[in-house]
């Protein structure tokens, strides 16, 4: 993707506004660069939310189809936040369609929400870029988080969204979002304790 003559990371230096303006002027290459710029962040968020690469492919494509349709009227400041918001809505809609009569947050006897059981099993940790044992454990630990806490964690850590934007997407107060992040970290830290201690000693 992109022009082979250009430096690989050139698109990362271009701002979203510049790329959007270029695309609006008719440059499809600018759209490609925009997709690549946000690919890892957006796809990582989707696949870790759904746990399914097949679903993640469909949702990733759907996000960009919607962006292309609405790009003429886009005027938000945070393009990455907009992408995640669209992905969030599609993920939620998909979950509701699968279980329309059940709240996705309803928990079973073991404290796991229905949303967690909707996650498909075709997620292979070996697809992780860093497929070491630690990486696998972190990925599995994140998948084990309740949906809302997992989402806050992924939006913050992977999509690098500010808490204010996350609160807007989740339609919650910033205090609630911060509390969810605290709980998520609280659950992850024990799982990584040994590694944390080792890292802290370096």
């Amino acid at each position: 993707m992109g022009d082979g003559a250009c430096p690989v990371r050139q698109y990362m230096q271009e701002t979203d506004s510049e790329l959007l303006k270029e695309y609006r002027s008719g440059s499809v290459d600018a759209l490609e660069r925009l997709v690549e710029k946000h690919r890892r962040m957006l796809y990582g968020y989707i696949v870790n939310m759904t746990g399914s690469q097949t679903d993640a492919d469909d949702i990733f494509q759907e996000v960009w189809i919607r962006v292309i349709r609405k790009i003429a009227s886009y005027h938000h400041r945070n393009f990455g936040g907009w992408l995640v918001r669209i992905a969030h809505n599609i993920v939620i809609d998909g979950a509701r369609k699968r279980k329309p009569d059940v709240s996705i947050d309803r928990e079973d006897g073991e404290g796991r929400s229905v949303a967690m059981t909707l996650v498909a099993d075709d997620f292979e940790p070996s697809h992780l870029v860093e497929a070491g044992e630690l990486g696998t454990r972190i990925a599995c630990a994140v998948r084990e988080l309740p949906e809302e806490q997992r989402e806050v964690f992924l939006m913050r850590v992977q999509a690098d969204l500010p808490f204010k934007e996350i609160a807007r997407i989740q339609k919650a107060s910033i205090n609630t979002v911060l509390a969810r992040m605290q709980y998520a970290l609280g659950k992850l830290r024990p799982l990584l304790r040994d590694d944390y201690d080792a890292l802290a000693r370096r």
């Binding site: 695309y23 499809v28 944390y196």
Partner: protein, 199 residues
């Protein structure tokens, strides 16, 4: 400051959303609270490791191709709509301009010239009445009133007058001793008027 509040401040500090004032409070608290420092360090480590670990390859090349094709289709669609749109806008602007110019021509003439013509006719009629010998006294009174009225009307139309004020009408006189100089309308050719003789 309790632990919960401190942890939230640390989270906001990491996301760049903590104000400068609060940043100062946080630094002070971190220097005094070793547990808070440990929490901050753990947060940074977990975030860094998680970011690397959660990174995945994907999506498939077919998805990227589909997105590119959708982008191309949209660009082509906008190009197709662009030229008719430009033509429609140009036509609309031209129509509005034509209406504005036509309206100006139609309504700019508010009948002023017709009114001035009629008032001039009235003044001319007054002069004719001065010539009447049947009832000169009452005719003079009416003449003066009519002339004053006509003059006022012309002033209202924005015209200036250069009357010769040396001409006087005497109420007791049955005859007109001196003919008043003709009314001069600025900007008009008054040579023909000056050539007239009043009796």
């Amino acid at each position: 400051m309790n632990d919960d509040e401190l942890q939230k401040m640390i989270l906001l500090e990491q996301s760049g959303e903590l104000s400068e004032t609060r940043m100062h409070d946080l630094k002070e608290a971190l220097s005094l609270n070793p547990d808070a420092s440990a929490y901050r360090d753990a947060l940074v480590l977990v975030a860094d490791k998680a970011r690397d670990s959660l990174d995945t390859d994907g999506p498939s090349p077919e998805v990227i191709t589909a997105i590119k094709e959708a982008g191309e289709a949209r660009v082509a669609q906008r190009r197709t709509l662009f030229f008719p749109r430009v033509a429609i806008h140009a036509f609309a602007y031209a129509a509005v301009l034509a209406i504005m110019i036509g309206g100006w021509f139609l309504f700019a003439n508010d009948g002023r010239s017709e009114r001035i013509l009629e008032i001039r006719g009235l003044m001319a009629a007054v002069n004719v009445e001065e010539l009447s010998q049947e009832d000169p006294v009452s005719g003079q009174e009416d003449d003066r009133e009519l002339r004053a009225l006509a003059r006022q009307l012309l002033i209202m139309e924005g015209l200036y007058f250069d009357d010769d004020t040396s001409a006087e009408f005497s109420d007791e006189s049955l005859t007109i001793d001196a003919a008043p100089s003709p009314t001069v309308l600025r900007g008009r050719n008054t040579d023909a008027r000056r050539a007239r003789r009043y009796v």
